[in-house]
Amino acid sequence: MTKIWDLYRNSHWAEPFLIGSICLFVGLSTVLYLLIIKSRSRKIKQEKLRNDYEQIIVELMYSVVFMDTPFSTLKEEQDYRMLLKNTYFREVLAESVINLHKNYDGVYALKLEHFYKESELINNSLKKLKNHKWEVKCKGITELAEMNITDAFDNIITISKSKNKTLKITAINASIKLVGVKGIIHLTEHPYPIDDWTQLNIINAFKKHDIGDTQGVEYLLESKNTTVVALGLKLIKELKLTQKLHHVEQLTEKAPNTLIQYEAQSVLQALNVNLINE
């Protein structure tokens, strides 16, 4: 302690410390400033490039979707051949195809799916599933689900068991889109609580993707995990599954706790009202 005090009283340390700190602050501020400037100019360049690419992609998509030009012909064209090797172009192309797919049904959607496979954009999405970053996995899952790649289901189900909540929700939503109720049946064995936010996302996935076949939803009511039972009840109520009335009735008789019993009774009531209205 005395030594520190002596060192302190001896002014030699103070000046270098202050000068060093000032230089450090000035240096770091300059670096941050340069990074901001670099980021801004990169954003401007990228924006311009994206606009250029989007114009090319619009023509490309027009040929694929409306002119029925085979991809094999398109990729022979010198301009496209070069561009299709460009990573950023492929990224913008994938985004465009997926966004377009969201707006189309039927034959146009099938053509886009076909293009997605032929252009090997699918491989980029599949590669994303193996990435160690969860956000990249999420992106890959979203892309594959949008393009109805049912072959990826097993992979996605495995990922849905992840502890990362965002990844879990994305994977479960994708599974629901791809295979309907089968995509959530594994939740009956789920060991951890499923929070309300995840539950609402699952319900929304059913509504959004208009899942008609709800065979198996009732299995959720048999889970030992009360949050899964609550999810099952909410699904039945929100989707107005009057055909599950009997299962809800059974649950009210042997509910694992009073909260579930109360929820089951409320769902039962709502279903009965639906039945009367039907």
């Binding site: 009283r9 202050l18 501020s29 901001i36 956000e135 965002t166 929070d195 609402l200 996302n201 929304n204």
Partner: protein, 477 residues
């Protein structure tokens, strides 16, 4: 004669050591908080890019919210402000406007614009408030979400308590009626209430930003600009520093003490059990959060306070020094009152992080900082007077503090650039950069002065808010 030589007295050595130690401590704490904030912000933004808020918009299971908007002499803008509150992206909510005995024509405007009629309304007086003159609802079904309460003047806290008494829904969102809310503000604020399992989310706070000189149309922010006037411009930077580099970190540590009175959501049951807003302090927003947290700890209930870093609420900052001084001195009084009311928590391990870190941090770096700075200034003047000063060292010390302040502002700009990027115009960026250089020599002394006035007002026993006139948003079109 000088610092650090053998002739310097023991007192001077200790003084310099303490001041330097304090400066290093405060700077380090800022940097640690900035680091934690940046990490938390990156993680939040990554997660948020996969969030579909439509889930809440279409579900009957979305949390039911009651918006409470106290209004006092807001006649000039109330029509438009209420309209914007009624058109937010959310389904399960009601809007409670509490007219706190306005002296202007606010009530008449509300009645005529929204076809209001006096309604029989049974109020459960869970919290004692000033007398309610009448409760109004609309004849027009388009405004069925709206409830207007006309009451005797009792201050903002009292008006909010009336809202708490009247609210039908389990969550209340307390806002300043003149704030501009992002269209999705309620969706983002409600989500955390659904996310926690095992821990009860008792409050959610959002980020407030400065809207001076921004373009507002139909109660919505349509163009973001940086103010030309220096005082609000520096406040833009100040808010970026506070919200992006400070509160985000406290949110991550779950040690957040303050949810801005301009925009925050609360679990109504816990707010009522804790006694509602205190009318004894002008810092009712901070005081309620501390009291709710205290209630949860003392009752051994697991809980958390959530924080949303998205800019959801835009407010008008004072443009002239007189109003600015009033606002900041009030903030200081609020801080003193809250810390005094809850002094039991100070360094009390029973309150865990709250008692051992959050409260001491606020005490030393928010409450005491202006006093310490002022004392430093007086002592420096005495040193100059008595010829003790080593000018070379003194200038280095000033440069040390100045360069740190600029550096910290640049970190805030960097963080903003790589996250929300709300100021894409080059001119706006350079305006903010210039503000970073001016802030330590112009704005900071003003905040210290205003805080000292706050101390004085507290000692003199000043109560209440004082008249806070607002200029209104400049519609630069």
């Amino acid at each position: 004669m000088i610092f650090f030589n053998s002739e310097t007295t023991w007192f001077l050595d200790v003084y310099i050591l303490l001041i330097l130690g304090y400066a290093i401590l405060i700077m380090s704490s800022y940097l640690i908080l900035a680091y934690l904030s940046t990490k938390a912000l990156r993680s939040y933004l990554k997660k948020n890019s996969f969030v579909d808020y439509e889930v809440l918009l279409t579900s009957e299971f979305a949390p039911k919210l009651s918006l409470i908007a106290p209004a006092y002499n807001e006649g000039f803008t109330i029509e438009e402000n209420v309209k914007s509150l009624l058109s937010l992206n959310y389904n399960n909510y009601e809007v409670i406007v509490v007219n706190d005995g306005s002296k202007d024509n606010s009530m008449e405007i509300l009645i005529s614009t929204y076809d209001l009629v006096l309604t029989e309304f049974k109020v459960d007086l869970k919290i004692e408030t000033k007398k309610i003159r009448g409760i109004y609802t609309s004849k027009n079904t388009a405004f069925k979400k709206l409830i207007v309460v006309d009451k005797e003047n009792g201050g903002k806290a009292d008006a909010l308590n009336v809202g708490l008494n009247i609210a039908h829904n389990p969550y209340v969102v307390c806002i300043d009626v003149d704030c501009i809310l992002d269209k999705d503000a309620l969706l983002k604020l409600a989500k955390p209430f659904l996310e926690s399992h095992g821990k009860r989310i008792i409050a959610t706070g959002g980020v407030v930003r400065i809207a001076n000189q921004c373009v507002i149309r139909n109660g919505r922010l349509v163009e973001i600009n940086i103010p030309d006037v220096l005082l609000p411009r520096i406040q833009v930077l100040e808010y970026l520093r506070a919200f992006l580099l400070g509160r985000m970190a406290w949110g991550r540590l779950d040690g957040l003490l303050l949810i801005s009175g301009a925009f925050g959501a609360f679990d109504k049951e816990i707010a009522l059990l804790s006694g509602g807003y205190s009318t004894k302090t002008v810092g009712e927003d901070m005081e309620l959060v501390v009291r709710m947290r205290r209630y949860m700890v003392e009752n051994k209930l697991p809980y958390s306070v959530s924080y949303i870093p998205d800019p959801l609420c835009w407010t008008e900052a004072p443009e002239d020094f007189k109003i600015f001084k009033k606002q900041r001195s009030r903030w200081m009084r609020g801080t003193i009152e809250t810390l005094t009311l809850h002094k039991k928590m100070f360094l009390n391990p029973k309150y865990k992080l709250l008692g051992m870190l959050s409260i001491p941090y606020w005490t030393f770096f928010e409450f005491l900082a202006p006093a310490i700075e002022f004392t430093g200034l007086i002592i420096t003047l005495l040193f100059i007077f008595f010829g003790f000063i080593n000018w070379h060292f003194f200038l280095l010390l000033v440069l040390f503090v100045y360069t740190f302040a600029v550096f910290f502002s640049v970190i805030a700009l960097f963080s903003e650039e790589f996250t929300y990027h709300k100021y894409p115009k080059q001119t706006d960026f350079f305006k903010l950069l210039l503000a970073a250089f001016i802030e330590p020599v112009y704005f900071h002394p003003l905040t210290v002065y205003a805080a000292l006035i706050g101390y004085k007002e507290k000692v003199m026993g000043t109560k209440g808010w004082g008249e806070m006139t607002r200029k209104g948003f400049t519609k630069k079109e």
